[in-house]
């Protein structure tokens, strides 16, 4: 029995030296660390501290990391060097298999960014327990914020993985006060162009909402390729991080200018 007792002591001593990921139970767990929770709310608080004197500013749009972590870091470092860029929006597919480990790697790389960032959920992020992890780590799937009298609307348009239709009522409601702002920008992972994931009815509904509410630009990821469509509403699809690439949007009063940056 003495032997068993000694073993138990060893086991307990071993356990007491644990750090965060000392024991892991399954790839599918959703146990988000407390310091990694509510990231969207924390970034919104950071954004409030940023004040600028002119109407002109830039934001960056990065999307679809999957597991191209080195390229994400390269892009983040480039954005850090550019003081004109005030914040970053990430267009979804934070994870590839929607594993907590992948969300944690993304979170850790984004800690290097020296400005606030906001995410929309991608289809890959919804799988397994991904939607639980996303909700804990970032927050709401649909949300909007105002910066410098411009409105930014971040919309969850994932259908197959979520098993539900996009909440177009929420979108209509959040776009309805568009006349109060200089410009409105909309973000959703799945685009209404190139991709055929959304039904024709959904595409029609989304694009009508954009037009009826004076949205300047609708930004997307998902297809992993570049696309730009000009019109009353412009549509932009930014390629995935398979290559180190991102877009910047320069906002000038009632106008804007998109630039694709390939590193």
């Amino acid at each position: 029995m003495k032997f068993i007792r000694n073993l138990l002591f060893i086991a307990i001593a071993f356990t007491l030296t644990t750090c965060d990921n000392f024991f892991e139970y399954s790839v599918y767990v959703a146990s988000v660390k407390s310091e990694q929770k509510n990231t969207t709310a924390k970034n919104l608080a950071l954004l409030k501290d940023i004040t600028i004197s002119s109407q002109d500013f830039k934001f960056a749009f990065v999307t679809d990391v999957h597991y191209s972590y080195n390229n994400l870091r390269t892009v983040i470092e480039d954005i850090n060097k550019n003081d004109d860029i005030l914040f970053v929006v990430f267009g979804g597919d934070i994870a590839d298999q929607a594993l907590l480990k992948e969300f944690e790697i993304f979170y850790d790389i984004m800690k290097n960014l020296n400005k606030p960032y906001f995410t929309v959920i991608g289809n890959h992020d919804y799988n397994s327990n991904g939607s639980i992890i996303y909700n804990d780590m970032f927050g709401d799937f649909n949300y909007s914020f105002v910066f410098n009298n411009n409105k930014f609307v971040l919309f969850d348009d994932i259908i197959w993985e979520s098993g539900k239709d996009p909440d177009f009522d929420w979108l209509a409601d959040n776009l309805s006060d568009n006349l109060n702002y200089n410009q409105v920008f909309s973000f959703a992972h799945i685009p209404t162009y190139v991709s055929r994931d959304l039904t024709p009815e959904m595409i029609e509904t989304y694009q009508s909402l954009m037009e009826d509410n004076n949205v300047s630009l609708s930004l997307h990821g998902h297809t992993h390729s570049y696309f730009y469509e000009e019109g009353d509403v412009d549509y932009l699809i930014v390629p995935s991080l398979k290559d180190p690439v991102y877009a910047t949007v320069q906002i000038k009063d009632k106008d804007f200018n998109v630039e694709l940056i390939e590193l």
Binding site: N21, S26, N127
Partner: protein, 198 residues
């Protein structure tokens, strides 16, 4: 889903009967299918706790085990997770360090199958072909050390192993190899366990 699990169990039983058929009659006191030991493990990406039975094969060159792993809601922070695992441990060498006490460096790999809603083996019909890669199977690789103690006066068990391992999952290993942003200590974690010999 239920059918899938039954098929899998039958398959595993068949596989086991085949590989262990050659062990028949080696030990006259024990039928070939009677396991050599029972196992309990904590952590290691095959469950919060996993329980099962093991066989010492090819003159103790390979320890092969069939395990059921469970993660309760309190640990998963989501639904309960159920896993079926085949674990293969290779003892590298044996060194006697005391009376009836042997230390053995070990290495091996596991194959886990998730029974439940977190994963799939065939892509659901809603998706275009090749939209996702099946994610119900995961593999881990591990290395560690095992202490074996023989009990001379057998009461319930004739001996016990205690082991400590560091392990990682194939996906994590791939990320740490392909990306300098993912450090080795981000992807390796610990597990401990006991084998109780009959």
């Amino acid at each position: 889903m239920k059918n899938k699990s039954i098929y899998l169990l039958v398959l595993l039983v068949l596989l086991f009967s085949k590989s262990y058929g050659q062990e028949v009659n080696l030990d006259k006191e024990k039928a070939w299918y009677v396991p050599d030991y029972a196992k309990v493990q904590f952590a290691g990406n095959i469950g919060f706790v996993s329980l099962g039975v093991g066989y010492q094969l090819f003159n103790k060159v390979l320890y092969s085990e069939l395990l059921y792993g469970y993660v309760p809601e309190s640990a998963s922070k989501a639904d309960r997770i159920h896993l079926l695992t085949i674990k293969n441990t290779f003892p590298i060498y044996r060194k006697e360090i005391g009376k009836d006490l042997i230390i053995t460096p070990i290495a091996g790999f596991t194959t886990s199958y998730e029974i439940g809603t977190n994963s799939f083996t065939t892509l659901p019909e809603i998706y275009p072909e090749g939209y996702y890669v099946p994610n119900a199977f995961h593999f881990t690789v591990f290395g560690g050390a095992l202490l074996h103690k023989d009990f001379k006066n057998k009461k319930i068990f004739s001996g016990v192993d205690f082991y400590v391992e560091a392990s990682t999952v194939e996906t994590y290993l791939w990320y740490t190899i392909t990306s300098s942003e993912v450090k080795v200590n981000d992807v390796f974690s610990a597990s401990i366990g006991f084998n109780f010999y009959f």
